[in-house]
């Protein structure tokens, strides 16, 4: 039986813009960015949950909220049964040992004045309850470098001496240093060449198998999410429009947005004629999301009800959810 590792219930993260003096004096200009607007999902242990959507759909904010790098407005984030939102600093510290992030910008998240060895050793030294000698830590760093297929000499090099793929491996080594049970990978192969990206994907699959890690795989690359994830959710303007087993979502895609998104992915399929669904315009601003269904302004199958009523996320059977009036007979 699979166990829920993370359960998110009705999570909302808003950003408030224009909280300056002028808007306070005149009570105007306060703009609310509905970054994550009522997301509920369950991530099962040992599996990979793919989160896809275009830029600005709130997928990174959702990830950051799980780690409380951003405070949610409301909702629950249950991690092994405990609500992350209600954790105090001490508990949060413990939680963040078990849950780690691999960031998108592999160079931006490393101090350029620290060597790779120091960067990887940092979480080890922050670990509580255990005092270790320098020697032991060095040994652990060497093991971690080995686990991500880097030379032991890498420990004394600085970030600028590494290629993009190597720097990404250091990010992975740091993330697995404390034996986490959960890792969020935010666009883990962006900016990497094809064959380097393949190496990182292989590495992360190996680590998952070896260390029984659960991944939240945040990406706009649908091919990759299809390949890497077991379950997935498609986000649009802060909400999930479709969710379920990855194979189900790809084989029986129901939401017009999912269909358009998947059809737009360029595939290497020489000689095959693919029918791309072209969406009108671009993703609207999350400051004033459209009424009713948020996708209605770009939807090729829009009808009257979409404007008036917001479609709920309904089960199409077998845990395949979709939020669209076309699939909601009530």
């Amino acid at each position: 039986m699979e166990v829920d590792l993370i359960q998110i219930k009705n999570l909302k993260t808003y950003f408030f813009q224009g909280k300056g003096l002028l808007s306070k004096l005149f009570g105007q200009g306060l703009r609310i960015v509905h970054a994550v607007d009522g997301m509920s999902l369950t991530i099962n242990k040992g599996r990979t949950f793919g989160l896809v959507g275009e830029s600005g759909c709130g997928k990174s904010t959702l990830g950051n909220t799980i780690f409380r790098l951003v405070e949610p407005l409301e909702g629950e984030i249950l991690f092994q049964g405990r609500d992350v939102v209600k954790m105090d600093q001490k508990e949060l510290r413990k939680f963040r040992q078990k849950a780690q992030i691999i960031f998108q910008d592999q160079f931006g998240c490393m101090n350029p004045r620290m060597t790779a060895g120091q960067i990887i050793a940092e979480p080890l030294m922050m670990r509580q309850g255990k005092q270790e000698s320098q020697k032991e830590i060095e040994k652990e760093v060497a093991e971690l470098l080995n686990a991500v297929n880097l030379d032991p000499d890498a420990a004394v090099k600085f970030p600028n001496e590494f290629s993009g793929g190597q720097a990404r491996r250091i990010g992975v080594a740091r993330a697995i240093a404390l034996n986490p049970v959960f890792i969020m990978a935010d666009e883990p192969t962006s900016g990497l060449d094809i064959s380097t990206a393949a190496t990182i994907l292989n590495l992360m699959q190996d680590l998952q198998e070896k260390m029984d890690i659960t991944y939240l795989w945040v990406s706009h690359n649908l091919n990759q999410v299809r390949y890497m994830s077991d379950d997935m959710a498609v986000m649009y303007l802060g909400k999930a429009v479709e969710m379920g087993l990855t194979s189900e979502v790809f084989d029986k895609m129901a939401h017009p947005y999912t269909k358009a998104l998947i059809s737009a992915v360029p595939q290497v399929s020489p000689g095959e004629q693919k029918q791309t669904i072209f969406l009108k315009g671009e993703i609207p601003s999350p400051i004033n999301p459209p009424s009713g269904c948020r996708f209605r302004t770009r939807c090729p199958q829009v009808f009257k009800r979409c404007e008036q009523e917001e479609p709920p996320l309904t089960d199409l059977g077998g845990g395949h959810f979709c939020a669209c009036h076309l699939h909601n007979s009530h």
């Binding site: 275009e54 830029s55 290629s163 793929g165 060449d193 094809i194 064959s195 380097t196 990206a197 393949a198 190496t199 994907l201 292989n202 699959q205 706009h220 649908l222 091919n223 990759q224 299809r226 390949y227 890497m228 994830s229 077991d230 990855t246 194979s247 358009a260 998104l261 737009a264 992915v265 360029p266 595939q267 290497v268 399929s269 020489p270 000689g271 693919k274 791309t276 072209f278 969406l279 315009g281 671009e282 993703i283």
Partner: protein, 339 residues
């Protein structure tokens, strides 16, 4: 019979960085027919961007063309003066769009100001002596924006770049670059920074406009999927050399070079969950320390002694399909699997 618009032959280019000499292009030869889309693919550092910049002659000062010709419309571009390039070629017959439209637009000027500048220069050389007023150019700018599918062009033309999204900025760039006089468009990773739905829109726009104006395209990208859908022919580059070239269907459907095969097999395209992706061992060699013989041999599982000694020539292995691999040339046609 289609006639070639661009013929590059034996183009060899070095970057001279102090004592280090990097060979960025090594005897690159290909041709591009009128109205055709040629895709250039390869990993970073393979020379694909350098090739684009060499054609439009926007190379940095450290670059030195050692030999070769770039014959465009019957003339060798390398023999033209800077003034001739400006007057007749750059922004006139050959246009280029880049990955980052942000950096190509000046943030402190309105879109109309920047577009009128370009239109004025284009007009100055196309219709010398014929003076147009600013209003006429502004109208022309609005027409161009309209042509790229920007809603409300008459209003948007007086916006600043920050008021446009990434996809719309790229539309503006296309509107500036492409006119009826453009015979060659160089697109260097033009949609890499965009979301897939926007990428599809922009690529369709490029294709449609090019078809309308009869423009040929040299489409530089690392995304083989995009090329599979857009390009008539594909050229795979590695470390400054062309490794494989041919019709899209044959290069992607039955690649002959081990490197092309490897690239295709390392894509997580329709690969099933759990199946390992192919990852090429080693890394792309730095250009100042290229291995002798075939530059791919240290990473190639099929490499033999001869691959370390001889530079494989690019030869026609099938009708219209060229490949530079000694192993393939010796063994003849076969489909190999990477281990």
């Amino acid at each position: 019979m289609s006639e070639p618009l661009l013929e590059v032959s034996q183009l060899t280019l070095d970057y001279n960085l102090g004592s280090r000499k990097m060979r960025a292009l090594d005897r690159v030869s290909f041709s591009l027919d009128k109205g055709q889309v040629l895709g250039v693919a390869g990993e970073s550092g393979c020379g694909k961007s350098t090739l684009g910049l060499a054609i439009i002659r926007l190379l940095p000062k450290v670059a030195e063309i050692r030999r070769g010709e770039i014959v465009f419309d019957g003339r060798d571009l390398l023999k033209l003066s800077e003034a001739q390039m400006d007057r007749e070629i750059r922004g006139q017959k050959i246009a280029m769009i880049f990955q980052n439209p942000q950096n190509a637009l000046n943030p402190v000027f309105k879109i109309e100001t920047q577009m009128i500048d370009i239109l004025r220069v284009q007009d100055k050389y196309q219709n010398p002596g014929n003076r147009k007023r600013r209003q006429d150019f502004r109208q022309q700018a609005i027409e161009r924006l309209k042509g790229t599918g920007i809603a409300d062009p008459a209003v948007r033309v007086s916006n600043y770049p920050f008021e446009f999204s990434g996809g719309m900025k790229q539309r503006v760039m296309i509107g500036m670059a492409l006119s009826s006089g453009t015979s060659l468009l160089l697109a260097d990773e033009a949609t890499t920074a965009l979301d897939v739905t926007i990428e599809a829109q922009i690529n369709r726009l490029i294709t449609e406009l090019a078809a309308e104006y009869g423009t040929s395209i040299l489409y530089i990208t690392h995304n083989l999927g995009v090329l599979s859908e857009m390009a008539d022919r594909i050229m795979i580059m590695y470390a400054g050399r062309i490794f494989e070239m041919g019709w899209t269907k044959s290069v992607l459907g039955s690649p002959r070079h081990p490197y092309s095969t490897a690239l295709l097999e390392s894509l997580p395209g329709r690969q099933t969950r759990g199946k390992r992706l192919l990852s090429i061992p080693g890394f792309v060699p730095p250009l100042d320390r290229l291995p002798g013989g075939c530059s791919f041999h240290p990473r190639c599982p099929f490499a033999e002694e001869v691959c370390r000694q001889e530079v494989p020539p690019l030869i026609e292995v099938d009708k219209g399909h060229w490949s530079a691999c000694l192993f393939d040339q010796k063994r003849g046609r076969q489909k190999w699997k990477w281990i």
